[in-house]
Amino acid sequence: MNPVNYLYLAALLFTIGAAGVLIRRNAIVVFMCVELMLNACNLSLVAFSRMHGNLDGQIIAFFTMVVAAAEVVVGLAIIVSLFRARHTASVDDASLMKL
């Protein structure tokens, strides 16, 4: 088997995640989909690092995880306060971004 398949898998997961972001209204689920996309990236990074035979890819993936962790913390905090504010976690309810 050609390990390039990992990349295909990553692409697939990423796309699914993106589609999820677009389809779901529940902020939390949207957020999960973002995580999914991040993970897909990580997978491809790892695969790359294996291809090139150096660890930089893994390092990047590592940083990605860290950043993802930070992002989740803040993001979930935002969601919580949003829920507190308007008793809903739907992203469509925050639609004041129009003229």
């Binding site: 677009l22 992203v91 469509d92 639609s95 004041l96 971004m97």
Partner: protein
Amino acid sequence: MENLIALLVAAPLLGAAVLLCGGRRLDRAGHWLGTLLAAASFGIGAVLFFDMVGKDAGDRALHQKLFSWVPVADFQADIAFQLDQLSMTFVLLITGVGTLIHVYSIGYMEHDERRRRFFGYLNLFLAAMLLLVVADNYLLLYFGWEGVGLASYLLIGFWQHKPSAATAAKKAFLVNRVGDIGLSIAIMLMFTTFGTFAFGPVLGAAEGASEGKLTAIGLMLLLAACGKSAQVPLQSWLGDAMEGPTPVSALIHAATMVTAGVYLIVRSGAIFNAAPDAQLVVTVVGAVTLLFGAIVGCAKDDIKKALAGSTMSQIGYMILAAGLGPIGYAFAIMHLVTHGFFKAGLFLGAGSVMHGMNDEVDMRKYGGLRKYMPVTFVTFGLGYLAIIGFPGLSGFFSKDKIIEAAFAAGGAQGWILGAATLLGAGLTAFYMTRVMLMTFFGEERWRNKATASPAEPDVEPAAQTHGSHSEPHPHESPKSMTIPMIVLAFGSVFAGGFFAIGDRFANWLAPVTRFEHPHPPISVPVITGATIVVLLLGVAAAYLQYGRKPVPVVAPRGSLLTRAARRDLLQDDFNHVVLVRGGEHLTRSLVYLDHSVVDGVVNGTAASVGGLSGRLRKLQNGYARSYAVSMFGGTAILIAATLLMRAV
């Protein structure tokens, strides 16, 4: 001596400036100042005249260049004066009659609170008119030409609160403007033909130019003359101009301004001599107008309008004479001067009558006034005799000469013109007799019937004196008014004889206008006889109609011609229908077009852009997810693009 010329113009100009800018504090002395300056200008004119007489005929012309006016490349216009015999004649006429009418106005305008301004305008007119006649190039003449137009505009509309007056003033100015197109085009033609438009060079080189150009120039000058001198087809304004105060009608619309056209043609004699076609047209215009004016004069019941028609007709004589070339120039000017005297006199007389009759202008409401205003009666009578050409008086000499010259034009042209002038003489006799009879003879039609003045109560200052509109109390006018009338009467009696004896006047002008003796196909006494017969016929006819039978107070319907003549032979109706209505429609449709089409295109574009952006605006629905979709799609497109780039 030369420097006096400038002074000649400056004096009344100063008067105008002071009176118009001076403000109310001059109200009490203003009219005296105006009269004084007019008189001063007359004095200067006299001095110059005697100086001129002192010289021998050859070098009598004076020249004075003040400064260069508009110098651009070849186009060199100077403020420069030329005073030769022709100009001198006019200077004396203008300042002389002008001064008299200033004096007259002192009395006539006594009760008008704007008398100061009236005198200011009069002075302004004098200055412009003098500038017109002493200018030494056509552009400066144009300056004066429009100047008198302005003065006439201001004076016709002097009683601006009367809409009729304002309209008449506007009409006069506009019709004159049409004429002015002629003058300006003539000047341009001169510039392109001769490279200059100063009298000396142009007239000197006239023969050199092609006849076509000269004819064009001539016709354009004629157009200008028609405008200013109220000749057909631009005569329509003169009748309405009678809305102005009577002294104005006397000075501007009888004696001086309206004769400027004659001056222009005579002054440009050299050009016309070399352009026979133009001359022919001039004579035709003159002939037509003299009959036109006479007919109109026969039908009008408004005394001033009747006199206006007569003025038209008399100027027709002058224009006709001027069109005859060297044989006519001198007589044209001569008739102009004599006409200046008697017509001014007649108008002043008419003014005096109105003054005594609560500003009633309808002759049908006059009658039998000779007992009440003797001086007016006598002076008016003398003017009357003069204008109809009663043997021995001014009109006789000057008009007779023109008739002779007309016959002398030669060929069929000569006969036709001669006949026209004769007929005109007869008509003149008729309508003037009519005026005379209706005003001073017959029963007193103003008695025991209220004279409903057509004008508002405060129209003429005189009205305020005899406040009510009930029965007028005819009375003689004050000295300040009668004296000028008497002086003018003297002029109208003796001037003609004085000029005509031994062609004194013709010889005086000869250096300027090249005098030639007319040689009519039939002997002079015969023509004279014919003239006298015709005028007696005219008088008789008038007497039969208005002397024997009582004059109805309400004008009878009259024949078709009469009714047409009352309406200026329908010329105004034509103007109204064709020019005014047509113009209104044109402008209205243009306004619409400008708004809907020219502007509409632009607005349409703007509107469409606005609509498009309005539709695009809907994409901004505020839902993060739909923004995300577009972003996602964008990414996809970017990737596709990069891939394609790579692939290529």
